[in-house]
Assembly symmetry: C2
Homo-oligomer: 345 residues x 2
DNA sequence: TGTTAGCACTCTTTATGGTTGAGTGCTAAC
DNA sequence: GTTAGCACTCAACCATAAAGAGTGCTAACA
């Protein structure tokens, strides 16, 4: 039933591992010596011929060795790869502890990740789609400007300037603040519906226009999270890998990194299709982004409960040290989970 | 007295313009035909020989045409370049008008600039070193967290979370707010000295530790501006120019763009040495950044009075369309000046 | 004296062809 | 089923040649 018998599997494994190491097509003789199978190169050749027919490996040209195909990589990732036994490598925890701003943390993490793997790292802030308003305040900043400050459950702070025709007196301001807080506190973006809005406006009376503005601001704040920010690091690492370093491909890739839009689609795709395991590997064409068909992309989703998720990802050549990458992502994912857990308490 | 006579100047001009166009070394015959000097190639050759001796042009190798040296470019920029007659090209003004967040505006501008020029653009927010506190507010967000919101004259909003042992009652909060506002309002970072601080703490009584935290936050906010954010766009454009596209150089450059640190030194350098004209051209080695010795860097400083300055810059190959770049920078500079002028009113 | 035509020379670029070496596929023997 | 051996393929390398662009220099010319 099984497509590959024991021996073919071992040979395929040997081929891929060797190729990951060297980046050169690997020949029968190499496997014959390198592996502990004690088979002659001729035998290996026969097996390789079979493996090629089955689509696991391919030849760049007639008289070259074999390299893994996408199918080969897939088999490797699914079946052959050793998972490192999760020794909880405390990845510079202190850094995370002592930095306050989430943005900084994320940038820092991307950096560490890129440095550890030598590939390109990307990371997004957790998306606060279902985040709730925790605190809300209007302040008169000067004669014509009102400042709306919004704090969410996740302690994210957003602010928005609102221009007014004239200054509000203190009392009105206080009333509005109380009104807004009592009405909106604890609500998520979806929960603020037309009914809530109508009620609010009614209660605000002549200042309903200000309420409008605040709601706009609020919408803006939530919106802003939705087209989320993606932080990248080590983008130039891709230049280190000859298979990506032709000026055409490199340029396309780097562009994708600069124009974050494409990455956002990648992230969304990941969020949508994520299994429980939390680690997803896209090999070549499997990637949702066309430009990355010569790359592999490994992503992880970290979670904060209540549907608040963020994504970490690594982008590198197909010939990627999957074990190392997966390992790195796993520990980072764990760390993020706990870090944000702490923050929310 | 003059090093170059009329004819040499015209020849030099022709060489440089041609080279800017084609990127290929330009030979005597080309100039003989291309220019309106009506001289034979032989004569041009003689002149070129002189120009080379004087250091304005050089030969990549014996039997190639000539290319401009740094000195040649410098002469071109200083004396030969035509300034376009500043027709105020309204560069997508609406965009600026309708976007609220400075950050967005700047990113947008960088994008436009990069697209217009096909080089790499960088831009920094105006540095608020001497910016003044306009409004300040503490709010109790939840039991253990205080939110400090700081608004500066330029309507920049900063916020900082402060952890407290226990919640403050409303009255105390109000008092503290009044105290902080009356004491700090209108002060710039430098003006908040030990005296001010001591007085503040004294008046705060038992809550002096909170005042400390607020001041820290304030310092942080100002500090944050000092290691300023640099926005880049079109970083991959450099790959379009063969002279920069060898993997070594490109990698270094792209790295410099990713690690913004170096750009910051560039910005600071620019701010320091800026003349009244406001446009600065660094050619090759003149650049303060080592990595960019194969590039030219053109920067402009925009100003908001009171020492609040920001920088715009273009980085491209030495063989850069200086006229276009300078023109673009000038109009953008003007726009920024007026935009921010408006905003401050 | 300045300009120009002409020519030998230099040096890059491109093409050509031969050689090498790695690797394969196939056949025949074990 | 495994292996040794051999013919074959093909990229990579190298040397050599030819082409072409451009120069410097000399000598002639106005």
């Amino acid at each position: 039933m099984q497509e590959l018998d024991e021996r073919k599997t071992r040979i395929l494994n040997a081929i891929i591992r060797n190729y990951l190491d060297t980046g050169e097509p690997v020949g029968s003789r190499t496997i014959s010596k390198y592996s502990d199978l004690n088979l002659s190169s001729a035998t290996i050749r026969n097996e390789m011929s079979d493996l090629e027919e089955l689509g696991y490996i391919l030849q760049p040209h007639t008289s070259a060795g074999r390299i893994p195909s996408d199918k080969g990589y897939r088999f490797y990732v699914d079946n052959l790869m050793k998972e490192k036994d999760q020794e909880v490598t405390e990845m510079k925890e202190f850094m995370i502890e002592h930095t306050e701003r989430m943005e900084q943390v994320l940038k820092q993490m991307a950096k560490v990740l890129a440095a550890n793997t030598n590939y390109t790292a990307m990371i997004t802030a957790p998306s606060y789609q279902r985040n709730k308003v925790k605190f809300l305040q209007l302040s008169q900043v000067d004669e014509e400007q009102l400042l709306a400050v919004i704090v969410t459950e996740g302690n994210l702070v957003k602010n928005k300037m609102i221009s007014t025709r004239e200054a509000l007196d203190n009392e009105t301001l206080l009333k509005l603040n109380i009104l807004l807080n009592t009405s909106l506190n604890g609500l998520s973006a979806e929960q603020i519906n037309l009914g809530t809005i109508a009620r609010l406006k009614e209660q605000a009376g002549i200042h309903s226009n200000i309420v409008s503005d605040v709601l706009d601001a609020l919408a803006g704040a939530f919106q802003e999270d939705e087209d989320l920010e993606v932080y990248t690091s080590g983008t130039t690492n891709i230049l280190k890998y000859p298979e990506l370093n032709d000026s055409q491909k490199a340029s396309e890739l780097l562009n994708a990194f600069e124009e974050k839009k494409q990455l956002v689609t990648l992230v969304n795709e990941t969020l949508a299709s994520q299994e429980q395991t939390g680690i997803q590997v896209y090999i070549g064409d499997e990637s949702p982004i066309q430009n990355m068909k010569d790359c592999s992309v490994v992503t992880a989703t970290y979670q904060l409960g209540e549907g608040m998720k963020g994504t970490i990802g690594i982008i590198g050549p197909k010939r990627m040290d999957y074990e190392n990458v997966v390992d790195n992502l796993k520990t980072l994912k764990n760390q993020l989970d706990t870090v944000f857990q702490k923050k929310r308490e």
